[in-house]
Assembly symmetry: D2
Homo-oligomer: 345 residues x 4
């Protein structure tokens, strides 16, 4: 009964096999291999547009490099006040961007609202050199509250960003879950709605350790090749990052994983709703269920070996002390059932 | 009728004369001169303790270097959501601190409140390497709303900071005005209340261009000598920074200037209160008056040549569009009177 | 006939199998797993001392983080003028160290000499804040010229560093090859000779993508946990870095690989020596052979499909345009024989 | 008898008077004043071209900001191996440029030679992302050896830089002395010879503390306004920087000072040449005399109160332990005579 995070599970067998397959013979290092090229083609197909891809090893690096492509050291990045890049990267975006500012903005259920964003921006006078000028808007998909932005929401926020000359970044650590939950296409959730740079996450959804920085506008690639090398994210045996991503894209494995993980979260939510004293805190729009558990139930689940963690986020307006359950490609229906059975007793 | 800022006025004659006096002969460069030494002694007397002094040319540099003494690149600085270091330094503190984060916290009238600070800190787990750990609390004295922290308020906030192992920095661009307005001693407003590093401002209060980074705890001096050089703030002819500060301290010139500037603000506030339609927005505890002016009055004052600017600050809960009047050592009572006369017609 | 680099080969089967084995079940993420712990124990055994280990994904990151542990932003790192960290990391050490300086020093055959190091250091006055003070000496093992430092050489250079209060870093991308070639123990080549921090390379010697930053002095660990996270090198599914390193250490796989790679280089060198017109440029003390090839021979080898690259290094005092052949764990004796046969015709 | 440095002397009376004159009334802060505008016009006249000017407080800041305008964090700056920006700024250029590399190149008498520069550049493959690409060439005028580049020398070096797409920076801390000594015009020594950005020094030549970053190509101004603010170099009472520079330019005060300082150095050199045992080390082409003094003479001069310092520079190929004498606008002929008289006894 492991619901602690989507990164405590292992790797999908398809991806492990791809690593073994990629091991044959000598191939050029540092991403000059054929698999890396194929990944770029697959992603261009998936997103229905030309794009540039930079594979890296961690989500921290993907977000930080993506932001570094569009933000200079003396500029500002606007993000939700609970966002992962603001709280949980130990200042990595600031580091990769040479000391740029992250400026948090409040918003219900983990989502930025256009008016709040516009209000925050109103405190920065355009062209005024005393202030870090806004250069990027960063959206988390899923949000930290497990909710998903719809294309129209993204488009509206992007439009506010455009008014101020900002580029739009998306932290897509759980992008796949949002695609499945919203029913929108990858293109609709990104460049068709104004997103310029996407961290396309794979590690949380069945890969071993690979994320793609996807740049939709070729003019924004800028110094990324140098910045990736300089930040220690250009892997010598690059074929093994590519092999993971290739298998992840092959036959829409990413989507099948997300469908499963979201379904597991749905099954869990449904079951928990019926249990007296449990309060589901936010809409379940991906693979995360946030809820308030009665103390006695919490104790009972823990004693039975269930793994999940307390949740405490800035800007949370819902009552109660919350916990978070995360499902993944590896979650089995029977694990959910077992947990719910224990909970029901 | 110049009320736009306290840095549009010139330099006090005592300070100009000191520059001329300091010009005699050859003296060692880079701060190894006797005047610099005397400044250190004068500041030690004024603050009633041993301390280390680093003279620099601007307030931006003073704040940023002071923070760099106590914050490492992967750490966080907590400050008020309207603070100057957060909005108006073009990311200088982040730059000097190697990419550290500034984390804004809300609070009435420009002041941080202990509970809000504690709440903000609650989102960072001590020792958790995924999060930028809190390293410094920065307080603005005066605040951006023209209010002044009392020693007890500072002590309470410092205690919250200490609980988390944070050092306390004070942006004292208008420290002199706060000393005068609170009636507390420089010592009471700083190290006796837990402040570790102070930017002791002089430029806004009659100097030409000098500020002192004062470090009360010798263990916190750390790399400051190198950081000052490396940031281009070690002046070759250091005697001329020292001469300014020396004259500023001589005979409590700083205090006399602040008494005057505060009195001018008081005279202005008193007069404005009596004018129909004018709303004084925040308590006047220094040399700044914030208020709402009727449109017609605003137009009339501007036409008469009065200089002052609109004011728009994050977290402002008072109604109305505000303007800010700033007085200084150079403000003449007759300037205030003239303005009030025009306003009364 | 692939002699272009030791990173165009794939992964050792033992390491691939270890990845599959590590895939079972749920384990804590971010390096809190049992395999990571076992790696630390194995490395402590191998190096015959207590030590701290930080696994990362690339050699660039390992070197840069290792240096960041011992160098502050305003300090200097001394290294050989041809060193990889100076020329081939796109400024990564400077980036991770917050802008520290790399200061190159000349030396025959890729090795620093104590006198040259002392001379270079003589231009920096101890404690003089106008100069970036020396904080680290970085040695490459193997050097860029394929030579290996002996323990006594390292000890002598470390002693010069100690005189100036500098710590000693070793870029051990090809550390295994040096262990085999010198016959010295890992301990003798590192902490027993004064090395404080080692990048223990695995990727070039049969792993997929893992390197260990090893800190011998616990007082030097400092901010490394935060710096690793902040630089995007804390992998969520850390078990897969650990699994690689664990298999690399199991049964001395690292040593067996290096013995093989060095032997292949020796076989290649021996064969090339007998070919008219070929000049071996530097002593072969690892898995690299540098030589001057007659133009005709060069053309013939290339046409036959041999892969190797031109070599052009600062401070090279040997005559002629050179090429570099690199062998690896994957080089087969018959590949060397084939190349030599073609060369002999 | 003060020959220790050109920054131990005070300020020219014309400049002190200008400060007093500038003190009248209220003027806009942060460089939006009329004096700053006039300085820009004066400099455009002097350099016979349109240009952008950024006044700052120190030479460290001027050089570092000038370089930051033309170099990105992952790029490299080539400079002479003895240059001030390499040895004596505590890493300030690296800091302002976000961690860029300074790459030293050897050259006789403090001057870079085209072939040596080309050779150093040959180790960086154009467009190769593993290497910090060359972005700027920085020349010191005067050099650290007191010699002056002629326009043709600058033009030749600039041409090498242009071949690699590099911009050209000039550290003109003693630019005035070079103008006087070469007889070339400011334009000929800068943009007409390929210089893009100049630190136009004033502090060493009679000002209190002001330097101008001059950008000749408007396309290179880039982020300088933000970078200046962010580095704490935008002075609130900017009129007092402008007043210094204005007086420095008025009636060619800068040139008169340099003529005098150079003449004093010439008088000193001439006298020293005749003294047995004294060896003048390098051509005297400005306000510095480097020489070897017999021990006995050195002792005698020191006892008589003469101030000057030992000199020890990388790449010095002339024999003997040297000392440096520096003259300035304030040096009196009788000081030189007194020193020579003592020396002659």
């Amino acid at each position: 009964m492991h619901f602690g995070s989507d990164n405590t599970s292992g790797v999908a067998p398809e991806i492990l096999e791809a690593l073994a397959r990629a091991n044959a013979g000598y191939v050029p290092s540092y991403g000059a291999d054929a698999l890396t090229e194929r990944v770029e083609e697959r992603l261009a197909d998936l997103f229905e547009t030309t794009l540039s891809v930079f594979l890296v090893g961690t989500g921290t690096a993907a977000n930080s490099l993506g932001l570094a492509a569009i933000v200079r050291s003396h500029e500002a990045i606007f993000c939700h006040e609970a966002s992962h890049i603001y709280w949980d990267e130990c200042g990595a975006p600031e580091f990769f961007c040479g000391g740029a500012k992250l400026m948090p903005v409040a918003g219900e259920l983990g989502k930025l609202q256009p008016d709040a964003l516009r209000h925050a921006l109103s405190f920065i006078r355009p062209g005024f050199h005393h202030q870090a000028q806004p250069a990027a808007l960063s959206l988390s998909q899923l949000t930290e509250f497990g909710t998903a932005y719809r294309p129209a929401e993204i488009a509206t926020l992007s439009a506010v960003a455009r008014e101020r000359g900002m580029a739009v970044h998306m932290d897509g650590a759980r992008f796949s879950n949002a695609v499945v939950s919203t029913g929108a296409s990858p293109a609709e959730l990104t460049w068709k709605s104004g997103v310029d740079v996407l961290s396309f996450g794979a590690s949380k959804n069945g890969a071993m350790g690979v994320e793609a920085v996807i740049v939709f506008d070729p003019d924004l690639v800028g110094d990324l090749p140098s910045l990736r090398k300089r930040s220690g994210q250009l892997f010598s045996k690059g074929r093994f990052l590519a092999a993971q991503m290739d298998a992840y894209l092959e036959g829409d494995l990413w989507r099948r994983h997300a469908i499963h993980a979201n379904a597991m979260a749905g099954q869990l939510e449904e079951g928990l709703r019926d249990i007296p004293g449990v309060e589901i805190s936010y809409p379940v729009e991906g693979n995360e269920v946030f809820c308030v558990l009665p103390d006695e139930l919490d104790r009972r689940l823990k004693e039975a070996g269930a793994v999940y963690h307390p949740w405490h986020a800035p800007g949370d307006t819902m009552p109660g002390d919350k916990v978070r359950f995360v499902t993944s490609f590896a979650t089995r229906p029977e694990d959910v059932d077992t947990l719910l059975e224990i909970a029901r007793n």
